[in-house]
Assembly symmetry: C2
Homo-oligomer: 138 residues x 2
DNA sequence: TCAATAAATGCACTTCTGTTGCACTATTAA
DNA sequence: TTAATAGTGCAACAGAAGTGCATTTATTGA
C-alpha cells in the first residue's frame, strides 16, 4: 500500500483510483486549486466525481477549502502535521492579482482578532491580495 | 437638493430616482446587503438596473463590496468620513453564522499583516464568522 | 426651443459555479 | 454467493453574475 493510500485510509476515505489521482494532483500542485483546475487536468473524468471527491476530502479533513475572494472555491491539502480535526488551522492565504494564483502561507498564522462586546468569534478568514513572489520578480 | 442628491453628485453619480431610492435603502439598513436583498425590496425594478447601480456606486466609492465567504457579494455604504478614494478602509467584517447577516465593524481596523519575502501586499480581506450581538442574546 | 447626443434603464440571454437525483457499477462483509 | 454499501456517470437544475442591444430619459448646445 502506498503512502497516499495509507493517508486516505487514515482519514476514513476509501482509496479509489480517482481519489488517489486527485490526491497526487493536489500534492504536486503547490497552489490552491479550483474544481475547474482539476477538471482540466482530468478531462476524461466526470465533474461530479471530482466535485464529490473534493467534498469528501474536505469533510474528512484531507483538504481545506479556501475562499480567496475570487468567488471560486479553492482547495489545498492540509498540512501533514496539522490538527485540523481538532481545531482549524488559521493560517493566512495569499492571492496574487497578477497570476491569479492562491497559496497557503501555512507559516503565517492569523493573529488574535478582537470583536466588539456581544459578538462571538468562531472562525476567521484572512486573505492578503497583492503580488506573489514569482510575479514580483524576486 | 437633498443630502442624498448632494452626496451622489459629489461622487460624480447622477442622482436618478432609482439611485436615490437604493441609496436610501442602503443607508437605512445597518447591515451589508446583497443584490437579491435589493431585488426583494424593489420588486418592481429590473435586476439589471439594481445590479448596475451597485456597480456604479462601487466604482464611484459610494459603497464598498464585501466578500463575506458566503459566495454572495454584499455591499455597504462607505463611511461619510472615510477616504476610500485614496486608500481602502481596511476595517473588518463580521458574518453571523446564525442570522446570516454581515456587518461592517468600521471601528475595528485590520492589523498590519506580514507576508513572506518577495510577496507584496496590496489589500487585505478579514472576515470573522461567529455569532453576532443580536443573536448571542447580549 | 428643439434636435443631437449621451446616459440610464429594461429585456432577453448567456456563462459559470455549485449542487442534487437517480440509475448503474464496484466493493465489502455476511 | 448474495445482500448491503459505497462510488461513479449522466442529466438536469439553481443561483449569481454579467453582456448586448433596443428603448427611454436626461442633458446640452446650436
Ligand atoms: Mn490554506
Ligand atoms: Mn465594510
Ligand atoms: Zn503571481
Ligand atoms: Zn446574527
Amino acid at each position: 500500500m502506498t503512502e497516499i493510500e495509507k493517508t486516505l485510509e487514515n482519514h476514513q476515505v476509501r482509496p479509489t483510483a480517482m481519489r488517489i489521482l486527485i490526491y497526487k494532483y493536489l500534492a504536486e500542485k503547490k497552489i490552491a486549486v479550483a474544481l475547474t483546475d482539476i477538471e482540466y487536468a482530468f478531462a476524461k473524468a466526470e465533474r461530479t466525481t471530482l466535485y464529490r471527491t473534493l467534498k469528501t476530502f474536505e469533510e474528512k479533513k484531507i483538504v481545506h477549502q479556501i475562499d480567496d475572494g475570487t468567488g471560486i472555491s479553492k482547495y489545498a491539502l492540509c498540512e501533514s502535521g496539522c490538527n485540523c480535526e481538532i481545531e482549524q488551522d488559521l493560517h493566512l492565504h495569499f492571492h496574487c492579482n497578477n497570476c491569479n494564483e492562491t497559496v497557503c502561507l501555512t507559516e503565517h498564522k492569523i493573529p488574535q482578532i478582537k470583536v466588539p462586546d456581544g459578538f462571538v468569534s468562531e472562525n476567521v478568514n484572512l486573505v492578503v491580495k497583492g503580488i506573489c513572489d514569482k510575479c514580483s520578480g524576486q
